[in-house]
Symmetry: C2
Subunit: 306 residues, 2 copies
């Protein structure tokens, strides 16, 4: 079971070497991460984009390009479609965003011919390794689905549980969060959280334990759960997955943890046929490398389960 990003990296070593297809690879921050992934044995890369620019940037990074497959496609849209097709065709195991805007990148992911649609709704998961916490914390959805319906939330849980399983967390504890831990008809989020809990008890949501609504402290802090006397609950400060009410609650909390806690993270788009890495330029080097490691582990699990 992966309890930290160190564990994820150890897990990667037990997998066959994975390949990431990069869409529009002429980006220094991205190539730096791709280089580290190669050096650390996390993943090999196929760099799709402007070969001249890639070569130019690689020189500044002391990057030996003979270690990488390069496909020269200057047009951005075409480069993305070429890269995603490599994953679609099984020639690469995961797909990563380079110097292309998010909208254009997602369009390639969703392309009906060469994209990575699985029929499931797409969602986002951000995996945190927080100092002082003895396990990984999976936050969802902090970046993709805006105002998920109950049905969307079921899909988000299923997508995220699949990632947990890939990380060796067999029966993750999923906490639908709210401001409070009791159902209050005036707060629809709490009603939906209780409904998700019931769907889990009924066997309509499987592979995990759902218990909500829960406040952040009762979900993540065993001392707080104990102090407040949370009896009869399935989650007592030991949640693996935090399901957020909406993108605002998720995104604000995510960024508070990034900027104000001692933590590292990595993230993936889920619900696709293969792992998709949509880190932004402002994400740190570490986040990009962690996301690649996470992607490698998930790609291995998808291959095994196919």
């Amino acid at each position: 079971m992966s309890k930290s990003f160190n564990d994820i990296l150890e897990r990667v070593k037990t997998c066959s070497t994975k390949k990431v297809a990069v869409a529009v690879a002429q980006d220094d921050a991205l190539l730096e991460a791709v280089k580290a992934a190669k050096e650390r044995g996390i993943a090999d890369s196929i760099l799709v984009g402007d070969a001249d620019k890639i070569t130019e940037i690689a020189a500044t990074l002391n990057m030996n390009l003979s270690d990488y497959e390069i496909i020269d496609v200057k047009d951005i849209t075409e480069a993305a479609l070429t890269a995603v097709k490599l994953v679609h065709d099984g020639k690469a195991d995961m797909y990563m965003k380079g110097l292309i805007d998010t909208k254009g990148f997602l369009k390639s992911v969703l392309d009906k011919e060469v994209g990575l649609r699985s029929g499931k709704p797409l969602s986002h998961v951000c995996v945190f390794d927080i100092k002082g916490m003895d396990h990984l914390l999976f936050l969802t959805d902090v970046a993709f689905m805006t105002y998920p319906t109950l049905e969307d939330k079921v899909a988000i849980i299923n997508n995220t549980v699949e990632i947990c399983h890939a990380c060796g967390i067999d029966n993750p504890k999923v906490a639908p969060l709210a401001a409070v831990e009791v159902v209050n008809e005036k707060m629809p989020v709490t009603v939906e959280a209780a409904e998700l809990t019931k769907m889990n008890e009924d066997g309509r949501i499987t592979g995990c334990i759902v218990d909500g609504p829960l406040s952040y402290d009762l979900a993540t802090c065993p001392e707080a759960a104990k102090h407040k006397g949370a009896t009869g609950r399935k989650i007592v400060g030991d949640a693996d997955v935090l399901l957020f009410p909406d993108i605002h609650a998720g995104n604000i909390t995510y960024k508070a943890l990034v900027h104000n806690s001692d933590s590292i993270n990595g993230n993936l788009i889920t619900g696709t046929k293969a792992p998709v890495i949509l880190t932004s330029r402002s994400d740190s080097f570490e986040v990009k490398v962690n996301s690649l490691a996470l992607g490698a582990v998930v790609a291995e699990a998808m291959k095994t389960n196919r």
Copy 2:
């Protein structure tokens, strides 16, 4: 200008000694905080409640009860009304919750005869002193208003700006938060944030600078604001006040900061005639003492402005 809780404590020293009226004072955690507030020169107390029980607990805390005024009222509702009346009548400067449930306590705050109604809506502010941040961060509303309307948000801003002013922050920067920093019609929160910004520009919201919508990182992290090239904004990682979309976003972020950041905090109910301290049993000793210090500073400002 108070940039930390140390500054708040220094500011308290420049004020006349304040008195807190405690509703239902027979609670060990509360009396411990009240004792520390006395010892540190933050505030004197009038303890309203079961005198026998108060005496019993005080003995275990080595608390010299001759330093405190005690009013023996055994009935909980009556004790709260007696305590709040002391503040209403100007015999005490602030009001604090003891061993009474939140509902009953708020009922006393809102009592038409002896309560602390000011005609303004009530809201909650939590003041954070986060390690590495060079100023205090005022979070609102993370505990009281559930789904504030635009009008409610104006009231929340006004309530909070008053607290900032009391802390010597003359023209606080107020960031209405969202997942994104651009207006998106599909996200009503962003539309309202822009409207609040306009109301500030028009002079309909005064005493502060409002700039939203903003993401958490652009509001609080100067490096992130710089990195993302936030040009033409009035807030670039230097927000004093974070206005949350709703109680879920606020409460989850608040608890993430409490449990996962290196920080201390204190909080108040605002919009009342005098500062109201509604800490819960699960709040730490430090939070209670910080809240009393905050209350003392706010009480001083209210006295000056009366």
